[in-house]
Each structure stands twice: as C-alpha cells, then as structure tokens.
C-alpha cells in the first residue's frame, strides 16, 4: 500500500516535470519578443542587450528551463508583465475564488448526480428513467457559456431576481454573496450532475446484473437493502474516477462561467494572460492548474485503492 502510494507519487512528480517542460517550451514558441512585450518596446539597444542577458535569453533552452524550474520550485514564477506583481501573488488573489466556486459546484453535483443515477437505474425503462436520461444527455451537450447567458437573460434581466455579475465573499456580505453565486453554481453544476448521473446509471445497471446481487435477492434480502448496500457500493467505483476527473478539471473548467459572470478567478486570469501574452503568468497558471489536477488524480487513485482492495493485489 505504502509502496503503491510512493510509486504513484513518483509518477506524479515525473508527469509534472514533463508538464513544466512542455509549458516552458510552449511559451518559448510564442510569437513576439518577450522583452518588447515586457517593456513596451521603447528601450535603447543597450538596455535591450542588458535585459536580454539578464533574462538568460542568450542561453540554450534547456539551461533556461532548469534556471526557471529552480525558481518555480521555490514558488517564484517571475513577475507578471501585465499586473506588475509577482505571478504567485496574482494567482494567490484569484485561486481561492475559483476553488471556492468549484468545490461548491462539486459538492452540489455529486450527491444530486448519484441520486438521479440511482433513480433511473432502479426504475429502468419507466418514465422517470426516460426523463432523467434524456435530460442528462441534453445537459451534457449544452455549452456552458450559453447556459450562463441564458440564466443571465432569464433570472437577471427578465425577472430581475439576481445581480448579473461580480463576486463577493460570504463573510463580506452573505446575502449578496449567495445571490451572486447562484447562477455561476447552476452553470457549473449542471454538467456535473448530468455526467455523474449517467455514469452512476450505467455502472449501477452493470452491477445489478451480477450474480451476487441475484444471490442477495434470492436469499430474501429486501430490495432496498440490496440496491443501497450491496449494489451501490460497487457501482460507485467508476463514479469515483469520474468525480476525480471533474474535480481536477474544475479549476480550469470555470473559464466560461468566470467570463460570463465577470468573476475574478483563475479562468479569467488565464484568458487575460493569453490576451496580453503575459508569459510568466501563462506558465504559472498552466503549471498550477496541471499540478492541481494531477494531485487530484493521485488522491483519486489512493482513494480507489482504499475502497477497492482488488487493486492492491495487482
């Protein structure tokens, strides 16, 4: 068990190293001159040469990467060119907002998704199943940004129930915060509920067919007990993977919602960074988001081992 975890930890670090190198290379390929972007282009040739040397542009890519990585490991991603602040502090300002929204959306969508999935699996072929399955299939395909605009139009503009945009922490102004987060959370949660419901339904149907369920039923256990104790336990295994995937993707996945509702989070920060070609910021954001999702992957795998003893043997 400990060996497995250590092994996976090693893999995660290796993957993150590859990601960091790719991020570095990717940004190295960017069109445009980073020095010109940083200074606005109005500098003398001498200053240019000095900066060129200071930024290690005269060294080969690998050397620059190692230098950059040394700083990055200690949490120094350089200075953002558009915010004129250390990348770490720019991100530190935005990250909590995204994590707050993402976790809320996650904790809304998991139980609801599982409940809907169970309902449609247990009542397979009935009207309830058809409604849940169809709704889930449709909701999976709705563009999140469009859903946001639809909510904005209906709930904010037509009915005037909710404020259109912005973000406030609950401890600053609780009522306003709740009013502001309803629509973003709805958008973020809908896709999650739909995909978790679909996964729960299909793995539930798979499990219900197994012999041990028939055995449990034939030895006279109550239907409810069979479903909720014996079947659900195993049916939720694949759902854990999906939950991990969703949680890992949430930090990056709120890009559209943050854009529509003007929320100062990681997603809008990344889009800003791309639009202003802010290289250190792009590197920091991508690496951080990748690190987040691979740590979640790692946790998912560990949880999996704890829940499913069969993996430990293999």
């Amino acid at each position: 068990m400990v060996r497995y975890i250590l092994q996976r930890l090693g893999q995660t670090i290796l993957i993150l190293l590859i990601v960091s190198f790719m991020t570095y290379l990717l940004v190295d390929f960017l069109p445009g001159d980073p020095i010109a972007a940083m200074t606005g282009g109005e500098i003398s040739g001498e200053t240019y040469d000095r900066l060129y040397h200071e930024m290690n542009m005269d060294k080969p890519v690998l050397v620059r990467y190692v230098l950059w990585l040394k700083d990055a490991v200690t949490g120094n991603f350089g200075t953002s060119q558009s915010y004129h602040m250390p990348v770490t502090s720019v991100i530190a300002e935005r990250l909590p907002v995204t994590i707050y929204l993402s976790l809320m959306a996650f904790f809304i969508s998991v139980p609801l998704g599982i409940v809907f999935g169970i309902i449609s699996a247990v009542r397979r072929g009935t009207a309830a199943d058809t409604v849940v399955t169809t709704t889930a299939n449709v909701c999976c395909c709705l563009p999140q940004f469009w859903l946001g605009i639809l909510f904005l139009y209906l709930l904010s503009m037509m009915l005037g129930w909710l404020p259109a945009s912005g973000f406030v922490w609950p401890w600053e102004n609780f009522v306003e915060s709740v009013r502001l987060t309803i629509m973003p959370l709805l958008c973020l949660a809908v896709g999650g509920i739909a995909s978790i419901a679909r996964q729960t339904r299909s793995s539930m149907l798979e499990v219900i067919r197994q012999d041990y369920i028939r055995t449990a039923k034939s030895k006279g256990l109550k239907e409810k007990k069979v479903i909720y104790v014996h079947a659900l336990k195993n049916a939720l295994l694949p759902v854990i993977t999906l939950m991990g995937l969703r949680l890992g993707g949430l930090v990056g996945g709120s890009v559209f919602v943050e854009n529509v509702f003007v929320i100062p989070g990681m997603g809008s920060l990344l889009v800003n960074a791309i639009n202003s070609l802010d290289i250190p910021l792009i590197q920091g954001c991508v690496l951080l988001i990748a690190a987040f999702s691979s740590v979640i992957n790692l946790i998912t795998d560990i949880v999996y081992v704890i829940v499913d003893p069969r993996i430990r043997v293999a």
Partner: protein
C-alpha cells in the same frame, strides 16, 4: 487451382463485409432517435454547403439603418450591432463548426492512432516516452490546454483544428495502445512476424485494419465535444476572429444586446447544443452498432 480458391475467398470476404455493413446500418437506424439525429445532422451539413443559396442575406453586409433589431419578417432572427442578418450569420457559422470539428477529429485521430500504435507495438522505452507525454498532456484540463495553445498558434480555422486536434489526441493514443497490446498477442501477427514482414507492414496492413471499429467509435464520440470546444474558444475571443461568423463568437457578440435582441445570443447557442446532441446520439448509435457484444453476436 489456387486462382479459383483465392477468388472465392475474395468473394466470401466481400459478402461478409456486405453483410456486416447491412447489419451495421440496420442496428444504427433501429432507433428512432438515431434516425432523427442523423436527419438533423444531414440537414445542418446541407445548410452549411448551401449557405450561399439558402441564407436570406449576405452575412457580412453592414446596414447602419437596421442595427440591433429584434426578430421581424424581414430579419427572422433580427440583426446584430452592425445591422447584419443574424439568421444568415448563423447559417454561415455552421460551416466553421463543422469544418473545424471534422478537421480537428481527423488530426487527433491520425497523430493519436500513429503514436498509440507505435507505443503499443514497440513497447519498452518508446512506449514509456509516448505514454508519459500523453499522460502529461492529459493532466492539463482540455480547455486550459486549448487556451494555452491558442496563444501559440493564434486563431483561424486551420489553427483551431490543429489546437483541438492536439488537445484531443491522447484519447486515441490510449485507445490504440491498448488495442495493439491485445492484437499483438494474436496468432496471425505471430505468423506475420515469422514470415519476415517488416514492423511497418505488420502495423499498417494487419493491426490497423483490425482496429478500425474502435477508431471510428472514438471519432464519432469525439466530434461533438470538439465542436463544443471550438465554440467555447471562439466565445472567449480566442478562436475564429470577429468578422467571420462562428456560433461561439455570435453568442459572445450578442451578450451586450440581450435586452434589445436576445435571440442574437441565444439562437446560435441552441444550434451548437442541437448539433452536439445529435452528433453524440449518432456516436452512441455507431458504438452500439459496431460493438458486437451489444449486438449479441459474441
């Protein structure tokens, strides 16, 4: 003697293929929802092809006197902030979604299938390198990867297809790698090896043709999501640049005019959702039809 034998074998193969094709189409279209999706997708493709004929106006002609109007008889879905006809722009926008979607899936499929096949076939260090890189790509959420790639490649139809192709290819690498690993152990590959066939011949003549079904299934499952991603990037202003109408940028363009003409922003989104839903339904149909286990053959 051998001539006639090989001919009958060829005929047999042909008959077998024809039978399979019939069975595939029969299963695919046995469900009404799949038929409906197929019809809608075909209609959308036709609309994209015949955009010049069926759209009531030129999508890029500016008319100052008709700026941001709601739906009317002259403009069924109203006009945008430059007085351009929204319906015509939506019809033309379908071209972008379909072309980018198909191109991106093809790019992802070619690169991913090749890389996955090489990784699975050669194993060892080759496999390690390819698999680790694929894992590293997969760990970056797809939206984030695509956005980051946008900065490098820039917008435009071809660049968009490349970006989405790269961010989708890991699915094919994984699928193809495991496919090859299972096929590699079969007797006919061993026989091929003993005959002295080259690795390339084994891969392209024997392994690849036997992996066509899962490749097609993956492609049909991916195209909807790819179109959704393109729309998202265009919505963020990173994809197809402004004068060209694409569904994503239309939704973004209409945001500021929700009060005067909500249809401007909402209608293209409905088109995206409809196309993606139909493609996904069709993809599920293709999967069920190609998967012999579900068809009850095995």
């Amino acid at each position: 003697m051998s001539q006639t034998n090989s001919k009958t074998a060829e005929q047999l193969i042909k008959e077998h293929k024809a039978k399979h094709r019939r069975q595939f189409l029969k299963t695919l279209f046995s469900r009404k929802i799949a038929v409906a999706s197929f019809v809608i997708v075909i209609l959308m493709i036709l609309a994209a092809l015949l955009a010049g004929v069926i759209s009531p106006y030129d999508p890029n002609v500016i008319s100052i006197t008709e700026r941001t109007q709601g739906p009317s008889v002259a403009h069924l879905l109203g006009t945008d902030e430059f007085g351009r006809d929204v319906l015509s722009r939506i019809i033309y926008g379908s071209r972008i979604s379909l072309v980018v979607g198909v191109l991106a899936v093809m790019i992802a499929c070619v690169i991913g299938t090749l890389a996955g096949m090489v990784a699975g076939f050669f194993g060892g260090i080759v496999d390690d390198v390819i698999s680790r890189i694929a894992e590293a790509i997969r760990v970056i959420p797809q939206v984030v990867l695509a956005i980051a790639l946008c900065a490098v490649f820039g917008g435009g139809i071809v660049n968009m297809a490349i970006i989405l192709g790269i961010s989708n290819m890991t699915v094919y690498i994984r699928m193809m790698r495991s496919q090859v690993l299972s096929i590699k152990e079969r007797d006919y590959i061993m026989a091929g090896k003993l005959q002295g066939n080259s690795s390339a011949r084994l891969m392209f003549r024997h392994i690849l043709p036997n992996s066509v079904s899962p490749i097609i299934v993956t492609m049909t499952q991916q195209i909807g999501g790819t179109i959704l991603s393109e729309a998202g990037l265009s919505f963020l202003g990173l994809g197809i640049s402004v004068p060209t109408a694409s569904w994503g940028s239309l939704v973004a363009g209409g945001r500021a005019y929700l009060l005067t003409n909500p249809v401007y922003s909402l209608a293209p989104g409905i088109c995206i959702a409809l196309l993606v839903i139909c493609l996904n339904t069709l993809g599920d149909g293709v999967r069920d039809a190609l998967d012999p286990r579900l068809r009850g053959e095995i």
